[in-house]
Symmetry: C2
Amino acid sequence: MNRLPAKLGGVPAHVTIADVAKRAGVSVGTVSRVLNNAENCGMDVRLRVREAIDALGYTPNHAARSLKRRLTMQVALVVPDLANPVYTQMAVGVQGEAAAAGYHLTLVNSGGDWAEERLALQGLEERQVDGAIFCSLKVTQGFIRSVTVHAGSVCVIGGLPLDCPVDNVRLDSVRGAELAVEHLLGSGRRTVAFINGTSGTVPHDTRNRGYRQALAEAGIEYDGRLVASGDFTMVSGYEAVDRLRAQGLEFDALFCANDTMALGAMRRLQELKIAVPEQVAVVGMDDIEAARMSTPTLTTVSLLARERGRIACEMLLRRLTGEAGAEAEKVTVLPKLIRRESSATQ
Amino acid sequence: MNRLPAKLGGVPAHVTIADVAKRAGVSVGTVSRVLNNAENCGMDVRLRVREAIDALGYTPNHAARSLKRRLTMQVALVVPDLANPVYTQMAVGVQGEAAAAGYHLTLVNSGGDWAEERLALQGLEERQVDGAIFCSLKVTQGFIRSVTVHAGSVCVIGGLPLDCPVDNVRLDSVRGAELAVEHLLGSGRRTVAFINGTSGTVPHDTRNRGYRQALAEAGIEYDGRLVASGDFTMVSGYEAVDRLRAQGLEFDALFCANDTMALGAMRRLQELKIAVPEQVAVVGMDDIEAARMSTPTLTTVSLLARERGRIACEMLLRRLTGEAGAEAEKVTVLPKLIRRESSATQ
DNA sequence: TGGCGATGCTAAAACGTTTCAAGAGCAGGG
DNA sequence: CCCTGCTCTTGAAACGTTTTAGCATCGCCA
């Protein structure tokens, strides 16, 4: 399968540390020490070596260095679906943090597939990378076990069991849904309808809990007729509006489990000449780019993908450099409400 | 600056090829041959070695392998701004293609900075990666020179001079603007206004050329009063509409140099009770996610970032494996019109 | 019986670094 | 003059592979 490159022939005579040593008239060990600017080496030698390096155009060989140092200065990010903006945002966050510390980021697309994730773990064992950040949809027993074995060089973004001794960045997404509903109720809305995602998934359940908790806290009775299900797509949001209205209950606010459905719903509302936000306020979740660009712009709850990536990388690097304690770190990030036009108070 | 990891102490006694050899009762050379499944080794030995590998949980060390083979099975993608969806899309394209060939992708964010790009090239020299794909905004003399030196392991996405002997994926963006305008004129519109981006930039000039060529081909005189400039942001598109209308010329079509401005313009048109597409058809450029989600959905010209990434990676791998010829390959991809509601014929 | 070509394996030399024990030179104290 | 304790440098041994040359063993043919 892996067609192997065949540039074995024309090797362009790489200049090595030995060449530098010869030219500078010192031993290879000395050159190495100059390169890693150790204390104990004289000024004259240091200069001669630097001169030789420049003259010969020497650059150290990363593979050799990794082999000896047992350090690659690379970290991996493993995500289920790179095409999904959420994960590319995460990658951006990780990349920035990694680069700042002199690390490179390698990207692995697991397709949500456990086999692929395993392959990434193997990369870890092969010392292709120093550490890895896993963002998994399904947290299986096998995953937990494997990740625990590599606890010293792994950070997980997502819902790991709290007793799993692995660095972990979590998201209080229940709170996210609460935020949305609280905001709606807080700005004077009385009846909040809810379009949730595919039932049976984790996001579905957490958002549902948040919705109900926020209602409960406001002393409002939960009414199943105000809740519809979509599948996170735009059309499903569009169609859900009709199903909600068919129930015959009036509502002046609508919370959608993601922005895509919210935009679909807004579209349908506009077609029905129901003014947003005057008659119905709409709040989505995710803060995708399109939420900033719709008419009206969409109020939403950001799940801070980029920030979570940043934090995870920070944690991982702390672990790798030994700055982290013996305990696994658990950080929970709180979603953030982003107020825009679609939920403005009239 | 680079705080170096300090896990040098607790090395977990890695199992090496020698351990496997000892257990299987063969020499290390033999184990290596089994691993790289060479021809000349007997069935019994092969089995014994496999058994030992499984029993000991051996995984080959990537650094050592790279060092010897002079091959890392990694490619780098260097982009000016990872936060920009265009480039993340490109990354997705590259990643997919690379993974399919057994390569890993490492991501470098240059910030459009030549110094950073150079660093990436150095990574190449250090044999940290086998090859690199550069997507640069500014193609300076220095860039061209450096990239030419590494012609054997580099592919450039963007406007490289045609005589530069480096694999190159280009984009006919003049044609992109033409496509948009042709589409508008072809579907019965008479007067096409144009909101261009920041003047003085390359994208500005190419789109301008495309706009004028399409008009010329249709036998329509260019009228400067139909052209406004924005800065690629949403508000700039919004405001440009007013400036265009202030010129007093009627127009029934509007081409915008990117989707973001197009969405801003659409918003203003809707506010002014000018129906899209009935009174004014709108076409954008880029095909961002929001274009699929606006009301009406936005007709646009896709610049195929993902596809260009895919092709570039394909070319690079061909070059690395020696399948490419001596000549540098130059591929030009043609933008693609994506018809949506905002330009529908009434 | 001797030579020959396969076949299957081993031993050892790379690959380009880092690091460690040891050596050289030198100054100062006894 | 010897010993001790510095500082700077060297040489060689790793690190874990791949690869090459060479060594048995064997059957086979002349």
